[in-house]
Symmetry: C2
Subunit: 365 residues, 2 copies
Amino acid sequence: MSKNDMLPIGSTIGIIGGGQLGRMLSLAAAQLGMKTAIFCPDPQSPAFDVTPNITIAPYDDEAALKLFANSVDVITYEFENLPLESIKLLEGIKNVAPNSRALAISQDRLQEKQFLSKNEINIAPYAAVNNEEELKAAIKKITLPAILKTTRMGYDGKGQRTIKSLEDGLKALKEFKGQELVLEAFIGFEREISVIVARNKNGMVRDYEAAENVHQNHILKTSVVPANINRIVAKRASRIAQHIVGSLNYVGVLGVEFFVVPAASDALDKYPTLIANEIAPRVHNSGHWTQAACLTNQFEQHIRAICNWPLGDPTRYCDIKMENLIGDEINGANEKLESGTQPHFYGKKQARVGRKMGHLNSIIK
Amino acid sequence: MSKNDMLPIGSTIGIIGGGQLGRMLSLAAAQLGMKTAIFCPDPQSPAFDVTPNITIAPYDDEAALKLFANSVDVITYEFENLPLESIKLLEGIKNVAPNSRALAISQDRLQEKQFLSKNEINIAPYAAVNNEEELKAAIKKITLPAILKTTRMGYDGKGQRTIKSLEDGLKALKEFKGQELVLEAFIGFEREISVIVARNKNGMVRDYEAAENVHQNHILKTSVVPANINRIVAKRASRIAQHIVGSLNYVGVLGVEFFVVPAASDALDKYPTLIANEIAPRVHNSGHWTQAACLTNQFEQHIRAICNWPLGDPTRYCDIKMENLIGDEINGANEKLESGTQPHFYGKKQARVGRKMGHLNSIIK
């Protein structure tokens, strides 16, 4: 790297994963004068439309990974369900951001919870479950209803079941046979928020205002900013997010999801409590609003961070609503665009049920 | 095309020209879920970094043009110095926007002036010059100082000379031997402004607020919005721009440059006069500020227009300054980025003198 370890303009960013996040990262890299190379096993990857440099290979293809690493100047990834060994292999050859420690923590719910607890960040009560005996003990400790989740490979509601009775638990145990599980207490939250934070190698940190998120069928449907939360709560969420990236020596953009839980009527602290639900070591769906409301959006911010450039301005310039277009909601979305809406379509060929096909950023007047 | 002649998401936009404008058009198309194919003779085209579909061939290579036209769904171009015959050939195969009439007018200063005059838009006094005799007559008519320009292929100050004496004129006549010329009166303007306007096939028109432009060595250096002009003048500039796209049955984004000339002390109309200087049938350098200050920037607007989608919101959300990075100003520009600045670097390999290498959009606080 050049002066101060900053990657020069014209360098090549390697991106692992070819979905919409990889696509939008690649577009941001191009805005900054960078080239990109994208690695994805799926020949139909939407990100393959925006770069001439593609690698089609499985995520554990060592030879392909080595070739890829040697063809780029820095490596990042668009999602956390990657083989940890592959990222470690890449780390041995080139600078990888975020680092494999952040990836290891975020791709395993148990490690994630242990990390958050150790950092004195509130999380839902939980217990590891590997068999019937542990399930029964966990139910006793956590009480029902609760949620049984696989520790790994869960996203968009995949790998989780609501447990209202021991029978539910036993059934789920069978379904998830062979996978490590965790039983989480059901949190009666008043709303869900998330904070997107960025950190570069020099330790510069910038975070965006919290977004308020609504899920449908376990998939993010809308993010609205400003969130309907107290300023003190917003400040706390920001501090937690900043603490996490510092603690992980993290480089890049990271998303933290929180449940906002009303204070108990007899609590000394009258403000709602923040329960950290999940951390994502990457650009995050709930940060797409930054494309329309901020001078520097989360994709540009991530590229700046991993190149160790000065981070950009996260100030929000308008009230904004991001809405995901899921499955066939994409059909004809271009024909009914309203003024005040900034569309982002991912160019995916098939509009399968539950598949994220695009999103709309709309100014709230 | 589908319903209402709208091009569906996932279609391919063909772009003639692989410079920074083609690159930014391609990025905007990708945001909208479109694929792109780019045609340019230069193998080092910056736009080739952002698409897998490239054609390297001269602009008059008929076979290559035909292949290209048949591989895309609509065709546009990033600059006006293209062989008109090539665009007409493409028009015979696919929808081309802007149309060849707009191109013909804008690539020939005489035709442009005749078009503007016919539409009762003020322009600088001028006279065609093809030889010494016509030069002398033109000087008599226009008076000196004046500017002698080639009617074709001029940009960034290329193909023009300031004429202060007959000797200057004779010398320039020799230099430009064999080219059609035009002598233009020197306009004592107080400032230069430009308006970016878009029109789709359905006739929907949206224009952006006028920008105030400053040139250095005949190359645009900065655009600031709002321009320091009276609201009435701004409204007039907007009406003229809207009239031009209507009159040309134009589809796409178009830029109009004006000189703002103080009213004569004895004028009935006390407002400054607008003198149209040039029209550009494409996205325009003086519209780059829209990337940072508007929900829909000029590149997205152009793609929407040529796909016949509803146009986006041109409202400006903040005060903004665009600054071009020319030649070696690009060096280290990434290292000294300030908060409040949105960088756009073009990824060009060589920072030659006078070459546009990037631009910075900075919020004015």
